[in-house]
Every structure is written in structure tokens, then in C-alpha cells.
């Protein structure tokens, strides 16, 4: 406490000091009075009283010498005179605040096949180093879009480091690498092939199933040696997009009338302790049940069971297919067009209608022209 106080140690020289000290003590508090020699003594006073004490001592004919000034105030005062140190501290704080807003390091974890430096340089090229301008969700999306190998990725900013955790896709060994075959994307009929590199396994007019190999990743050279190559080909096929719809000439339709009866029960350990049930008087009804815990602990597990009975009415609906034919065809068509892709060219549209025993099945087939060759990664991703 004494060290925190702003004390000033002064030396007094002269005779009859006791009288003067007694007088001063009436207005100021004095500390640690010591007699050094017969005419010399030392005393500590608060810095704020120094001027007053000094004046009183000098007016009494005593010589005053300030020996030491201590305390936190003095420390701050002295410290503030070190301009260089202050400037250095201010500069350091400023630099620290400035650089804290930036990401200085990118750490990538979980890579085996992928190259860390490739990912780091990709992030550096596409994103600013300033923390506020890096949206981790965007980084994750872009990484996933640009690196097919990435199965899942999470990005977080920890301090001044961008931490990227990657989970790579694992393929079967035979499908690994750039020498994977080209597979059929869908069930289709081949209509044109344009081989660039590899061994073609299909010809025009072939009907292939999804996943069948179209181009093998090798060639047999003039010496009969098998040589691996990156398969490349432009294969177009007719793809059938099928949409279905059904119609019944007559059927029973059950719907709620809007009337209901509610029944509530409170149970404890399976035993019913309260209920406000009314008798279900509906001729035809359906019910919904749900139960909730009334207490949040397991000490007294009170359960409230609520049952609601809805009155229903069943009626026979009769409608011939001809009446709704256009709507049903449109419904089947829309179901087929769900599978339409961006670059598909529609060649033909056929609606097949089969009626048997009052049930009409409608199948709408859209034939499109599509490039069907995909590599394993895309096939795997789509499946």
C-alpha cells in the first residue's frame, strides 16, 4: 500500500526540528521520521503536501533536500517521460491490432491424395487475406466445387490461421486415378460415337444400361502391348425419360367432415390418474394421438396423452378417364420432364395408355439426345 502511495522522502537540516515537525503534523500526515544525525533528520510526506511542507520547513529556517519520490503516480510520471518506450508500445499495439484482422497462415488437414499447397494456393488466389472478407461457408463451397476429390470440407478461422479440414473421397483401387473408364450415365441407345482416345466398347445402335463401360482407359499398340491412356470420347445416345400417372374410373374417397372430439389423459408410471374423455359417437372416424411429458425430470414422470377423433365421411367417386385425359397426360409429362437436363435435345414424345378393369395406366416417354459418357467420379457422385 505504501508503495502505491505517492510519498516523497525529504531531508531536513537545522536546529529545533521537533517543534516545526509538530506544527506540520497538525495539517499533514508524516511518515517514517528518523534522526540521522543531531541536526539532520529524514521524513516522508505525501507528494501532494510537499509544496506546503517545504514552505513551512523553509520558513522555520530549516534546509530541505528532496531525496526520493516514490509511488505509482511518480512511476507513471517518470514513465511518461520515456517517449521512445511509449512510442514503441503504441506502435506495437497498433501493429498488433492491424495484423490481427488478417489471416497469415492456412493449415490443411486430412489430405492424402490431394496436394496441400494446391489447396493453399487456390484459397490464396480466390480469397482476400482480411478476416472480415473471408466467409468460411464460401471457402467450403468453392473447395468442394473445384476439387472433385473432396468429399466433405470444413473451414474455420482460428486466431490468424485458416484451418481447412478435408475428408477425401475413397474410390475402389481399380477405379482410382486418371485411367478410369468412361461409363454410361443412364439407360440408353447409342446413336453416335466419336472416339478421341482409349478403346471403344460400344457401337451405334447398342442399348446400354447405366454404369456399363463405354470407353476403356487403354489402347493396344502396334506391338500388341496394352498401354494405359486417359479415355476421351464424345458419345451421344437416345435417352428415355419416363413419367407415369394412374387413373381409376371409380374409387372411394374418405375425408374429414370437420367435427372432432378431444380426449386428454394424465398418466403416471402407466397408471391413469386423470381423464376428461368423452365418448366417441362418430359412426366413422380416424384418430390422432400424441403424448408429452408434463415434468422435465424423471422423478415424477407425468405424461399427458391427447387423443383427437375426427369424423370422416366416405363417398364413391366416379369419373371416366376421357373426362380427365388431358390433365392426366400433362401430369405424366411433367413427371417425365423432371429428369430433363440442361443440354438435352428433345426428339420425340409418346404417351402410352393402358386400360384394364377400370384402371388406366398412363406412361409418357420423352426421348432426348444426350452426351452420356461420364467418368467414374461423376457417376459415383450422381449415384
Amino acid at each position: 500500500m505504501k508503495k502505491i502511495k505517492n510519498l516523497c522522502r525529504i531531508r531536513l537540516k537545522g536546529l529545533n526540528q521537533e517543534r516545526t515537525i509538530s506544527n506540520i503534523s497538525k495539517s499533514c500526515k508524516l511518515y517514517n521520521l528518523n534522526r540521522i544525525e543531531k541536526s539532520i533528520s529524514e521524513v516522508e510526506v505525501n507528494s501532494k503536501d510537499l509544496k506546503k511542507v517545504k514552505a513551512q520547513l523553509m520558513s522555520s529556517g530549516l534546509e530541505v533536500e528532496i531525496l526520493k519520490v516514490s509511488g505509482i503516480g511518480q512511476f507513471i510520471k517518470r514513465f511518461l517521460s520515456f517517449y521512445g518506450v511509449i512510442a514503441a508500445i503504441v506502435l506495437s499495439i497498433g501493429l498488433y491490432i492491424f495484423q490481427y484482422g488478417y489471416v497469415w497462415q492456412i493449415k490443411v488437414f486430412g489430405t492424402e491424395k490431394l496436394n496441400d499447397s494446391e489447396i493453399v494456393s487456390f484459397i490464396e488466389q480466390n480469397f482476400n487475406k482480411h478476416k472480415s472478407q473471408i466467409e468460411t461457408e464460401n471457402v467450403e463451397l468453392l473447395l468442394k466445387e473445384n476439387f472433385k476429390r473432396i468429399s466433405a470440407v470444413s473451414v474455420a478461422i482460428v486466431g490468424q490461421t485458416l484451418v481447412v479440414n478435408i475428408y477425401e473421397t475413397i474410390y475402389p483401387i481399380e477405379m482410382e486415378g486418371q485411367f478410369s473408364p468412361i461409363y454410361a450415365e443412364v439407360d440408353c441407345k447409342i446413336i453416335s460415337t466419336d472416339l478421341i482416345q482409349g478403346t471403344l466398347c460400344v457401337k451405334v445402335g447398342d442399348i446400354v444400361r447405366r454404369g456399363e463401360v463405354l470407353v476403356q482407359p487403354f489402347i493396344i499398340d502396334s506391338q500388341g502391348q496394352k498401354r494405359e491412356v486417359v479415355p476421351e470420347a464424345k458419345i451421344e445416345a437416345e435417352v428415355w425419360l419416363i413419367g407415369k400417372a394412374e387413373h381409376y374410373d371409380s374409387y372411394y374417397k374418405t375425408e374429414r367432415t370437420g367435427k372432432k372430439i378431444e380426449c386428454g389423459k394424465v398418466k403416471l408410471f402407466g397408471l391413469e390418474i386423470y381423464n376428461n374423455c368423452q365418448e366417441n359417437t362418430f359412426l366413422q372416424s380416424e384418430c390422432e394421438e400424441n403424448s408429452v411429458f408434463l415434468s422435465k425430470n424423471q422423478i415424477l414422470p407425468l405424461i399427458y396423452e391427447k387423443t383427437v377423433y375426427y369424423e370422416t365421411k366416405t363417398q364413391l367417386i366416379e369419373q371416366s378417364f376421357e373426362e380427365v385425359k388431358i390433365q392426366k397426360v400433362e401430369e405424366a409429362k411433367q413427371n417425365a420432364l423432371i429428369y430433363l437436363q440442361e443440354k438435352d435435345i428433345i426428339k420425340e414424345e409418346i404417351a402410352n395408355i393402358k386400360s384394364l378393369g377400370g384402371v388406366t395406366n398412363l406412361e409418357y416417354v420423352v426421348t432426348v439426345r444426350r452426351n452420356i459418357g461420364v467418368n467414374f467420379e461423376t457417376l459415383h457422385k450422381e449415384s
Binding site: 526540528q17 521537533e18 517543534r19 509538530s22 503534523s25 500526515k29 517514517n32 528518523n34 534522526r35 533528520s41
Partner: protein
């Protein structure tokens, strides 16, 4: 909170009312001497410190004495206190 001096004063007020209005000295283990009601310092030395009190003078003798605190009517003397005499 219990006030030692006030408690003594209230107990002894009937016996010595004048004496209680004078000064109080508390010697703690011969190392700290607390004085209340002094009227001014008369002597300051390493071996003795003297001060005036109402109707008298007190001399404190010892070794390495320091007047740790001094206010208008209280003082704290620190050191090896051997004797306290009231004249």
C-alpha cells in the same frame, strides 16, 4: 464493531473522568507503540522519542526507533521499545 478504547472509557468514566480525556498509549509486543492524544513532539532520536501530553511529558526509550506515522494527535512509534515513562 467492538471499540476497545470506547469500551474502556465507558467502563471507567465514573471513576476517573479527567484521566480518560487525556492520552492513550498502547504498546504492542514492545515493537509498536501507538499514542493517541499527544500535544506535540519534543524530542526525536534513534534511542528516544519524547512528546508532550496533557499535564505532562512522555519519553519512549529503545533502539532503532522510528516515528512511523505522525498526525495532529496520534503517532506510531516502531522499533525495539524498552521503556515508556510519563512525567
Amino acid at each position: 464493531m467492538f471499540n476497545f478504547f470506547d469500551e474502556i472509557k465507558s467502563l471507567l468514566s465514573k471513576c476517573e473522568p479527567e484521566a480518560l480525556a487525556s492520552f492513550n498509549i498502547v504498546n504492542v509486543a514492545g515493537k509498536i507503540l501507538y499514542v493517541e492524544g499527544h500535544l506535540g513532539l519534543t524530542e526525536l532520536g534513534k534511542d528516544s522519542i519524547a512528546f508532550k501530553v496533557k499535564k505532562g511529558r512522555v519519553i519512549v526509550e529503545g533502539q532503532e526507533l522510528t516515528l512511523a506515522e505522525l498526525t495532529e494527535n496520534t503517532m506510531k512509534i516502531v522499533g525495539k521499545i524498552k521503556r515508556v515513562e510519563v512525567f
